[in-house]
């Protein structure tokens, strides 16, 4: 960075919008559609017009399926499913259409599309609006799934998703995206508060957006005694836990996966082969998901290590107290890490 040059900073949501603006300006095949996108993406709507920013009825199975067809026929849809939870009504489009196309066509036909959805909890909206579901989606061959944790990654990964030649689910955590939290959480109130990871909600971004390689994790913190692996808001909880553990003289590494599928096996294996202790922190459900998958790939790589996990257990409760206990928290992470030491 040249001396005296001002670094751009942006909110997480602002970075996504900025990257989308850059991409839409250079590729007019990119179109946005989904519920309420006139209001939600008003700046892009004004710049690129109704033809490229188009509100839909509440017909997720139709418009997500339409995104697949549109992508197959030459468009690059960024199709919005407000909350990832609502994918439930439209799963055919992803599970049996988008994800199967490349394989079924013998690699001859692809559907380059981005499914953008908000995910995650921590604001007391209940278990039909706060799920993460990235493990559930990543389970399906043919789908890529990303979940950024910083504004810089949020913008870059949007470009990554747009440049990928197949379907990508792009998950935007609501504790990082100020407008979602404002709409669904506070609603303009000053009487409620949330545990927002500040470095995830706002931060430095590049002057021009460039795509990251898909499936590349990043080491957020080096540490030799134990490796914490997480994604999205969990990364920030891990960093907080690592700072606390350092006071107990525990050297704690933190890996931010950024992409759940494809998964960066190499980065995880290298770190755990040194630390010999792995704690995975996953806001998605514990059973049959990312936390078990990471253990499996390390075992397949022949590593021996101590293992623990802090995940969401069971349906996410509405009550803020119960919710706090159900979601991975810094406290739960520290406690689980201590057990491995």
């Amino acid at each position: 960075m040249a001396e005296g040059k001002k670094i751009r900073t942006m909110s997480f949501a602002g970075a996504i919008e900025d990257a989308l603006g850059q991409a839409m300006a250079s590729d007019n095949r990119i179109v946005i559609f989904g519920e309420d996108v006139h209001g939600l993406r008003m700046n892009l709507f004004v710049r690129f017009g109704e033809k490229r920013v188009r509100p839909t009825p509440i017909s997720e199975s139709a418009f997500l399926g339409a995104a697949v067809g549109a992508a197959m026929a030459g468009l690059k849809p960024v199709v919005e499913i407000m909350m990832v939870d609502f994918l439930g009504v439209a799963m055919d489009a992803l599970l049996n259409e988008a994800a199967k196309l490349e394989a079924f066509s013998g690699g001859k036909w692809k559907a380059p599309m981005v499914v953008r959805a908000a995910c995650g909890g921590g604001y007391g909206d209940g278990g039909q609006h706060e799920q993460s579901l990235w493990g559930w989606l990543a389970h399906i061959p043919g789908l890529a799934v990303v979940a950024p944790s910083t504004p810089a990654d949020a913008g870059s990964l949007m470009l990554t998703a747009l440049q990928h030649d197949g379907p990508v689910v792009y998950l935007e955590h609501k504790l990082l995206s100020n407008y979602w939290l404002e709409y669904l959480g506070s609603g303009g109130r000053t009487t409620v508060s949330y545990d927002i990871p500040l470095e995830g909600a706002n931060g430095p971004v590049p002057d021009t957006w460039e795509a990251l390689p898909l499936g590349r994790a990043v080491t957020r913190r080096e540490g030799s005694d134990i490796t914490l692996v997480s994604v999205a808001v969990g990364v920030h909880r891990c960093l907080e836990a690592a700072a606390a553990l350092e006071k107990e003289s525990v050297s704690t590494g933190v890996i931010d996966l950024r992409s759940i599928s494809p998964l960066d096996r190499k980065t995880i294996c290298e770190a755990v082969s040194k630390s010999k202790r792995l704690l995975i922190v996953d806001e998605d459900y514990r059973d049959f998901g990312l936390s078990g998958e990471v253990a499996a790939i390390l075992l397949e790589a022949g590593l021996t290590f101590k293992y623990g996990r802090v995940c969401t257990e069971g349906t996410i409760p509405y009550s803020r107290n119960l919710e706090d206990a159900a979601l991975p928290s810094t406290g739960r992470i520290i406690e689980a890490a201590r057990k491995l030491l």
Binding site: R52, E182, T315
Partner: protein, 333 residues
């Protein structure tokens, strides 16, 4: 049936006063997350619920509070649920969008359109286990574009289920005007599936009561499913703190103007159209407040006042009931 306007008004008033109390708790930060009220649609709900009896079922959308209040669910239990208390209706697990009362065969969901299939199942059980009982699905005009709801129209019709689909048409789906994303006419759709269909002014509780009565009677007699579309106002925006209603054009102007001139992009005409669309969206949600003249309670009250039928006493009785529920809910921890 001996349900007169006073009784219907009573149902509506209890719901309205209850939701006013809920609003205060939400504003004070004691209720988390979103809060969708049924303010404005009480006429529709009361006109239908007044016909229900033990064993009838209800599938509800994200505005489940009024139907449950009117069906007689304990008010303190509801409040405790909204407060996230372990002694709430659903032990603090559900909150206002996910309310369940097995005793009343009433279940809600935050997934738009899901009341259709659920009510279909309730009706199937009624047809098989308890002929004469019926089920009701409440949903909005927005939900009427959800595939599973339309599939339910067909299933209910094909199986001749004792079911009434009630569409509370407030013309909005959050910040999208339903007519702009809806092909054809919703009532025609229902009819084309073979449902008996009617349309009614949902702010006129007596009209809803009469229309629903006819359809419910048919269903009880085994004459099959039906559809009722009731027009109603949206008096409190989509939810409490609706951002469109709070939209500050001064704050938005800067980014919008930047977007308006950014190159490359759409033509000036297209951009102007977009700006116009946004302004009209904000304008329309703001003037919604003036829909007060369509307030179902005001309408009923005007009629009742001419009959001098003890409205003050009713008002006091309900206030006392809600105060007591609030005290109970706030007290025991």
């Amino acid at each position: 049936m001996g349900t007169d306007l006073q009784a219907l008004y009573r149902l509506m008033l209890r719901s309205r006063r209850f939701e006013e109390a809920v609003t205060k708790l939400w504003e004070a930060g004691k209720i988390s997350g979103e809060m969708h009220l049924g303010v404005g649609e009480e006429g529709v709900v009361a006109g239908v619920v007044a016909h229900l009896r033990d064993g009838d079922a209800m599938a509800l959308d994200h505005r489940g509070t009024p139907p449950l209040v009117m069906r007689g669910v304990d008010l303190a239990l509801l409040l405790k649920e909204f407060l996230g208390r372990s002694d709430g209706l659903c032990k603090g697990m559900g909150g206002h969008m996910h309310l369940f009362s097995a005793q009343h065969l009433a279940a809600s969901s935050g997934i738009v359109g899901s009341s259709g299939p659920l009510a279909t199942g309730f009706a199937m059980a009624a047809q098989y286990l308890h002929p004469g009982n019926i089920s009701v699905a409440f949903f909005g005009d927005g939900a009427s574009n959800q595939g599973m709801l339309l599939e339910s129209f067909n299933l209910a019709s094909a199986w001749q289920l004792p079911l009434i689909f009630v569409c509370k048409d407030n013309t909005w789906a959050i910040a999208t005007q339903s007519p702009k994303v809806t092909g054809g006419d919703i009532t025609d759709r229902a009819r084309s599936f073979g449902l008996e269909a009617a349309e009614v002014d949902g702010s006129d509780v007596e009209a809803v009561y009469a229309a629903a009565g006819h359809l419910i009677e048919r269903a009880r007699d085994g004459d099959g499913p039906s559809f009722l579309l009731a027009h109603c106002p949206r008096l409190e925006g989509h939810y409490l703190g609706d951002p469109l209603r709070r939209a500050n054009m001064m704050e938005l102007a800067g980014p919008l103007m930047t977007a308006f001139v950014a190159q490359p992009g759409a033509s000036v005409a297209e951009r102007a159209y977009s700006l116009g669309t946004l302004l009209s969206l904000v304008g329309k949600t703001t003037v919604e407040k003036n829909w007060r003249r369509h307030d179902p309670l005001d309408k009923a009250r005007r009629k009742l006042q001419s009959q001098k039928s003890g409205l003050d006493a009713l008002e006091k009785e309900i206030e006392a009931e809600i105060r007591l529920a609030l005290e109970t809910a706030m007290m025991e921890a």
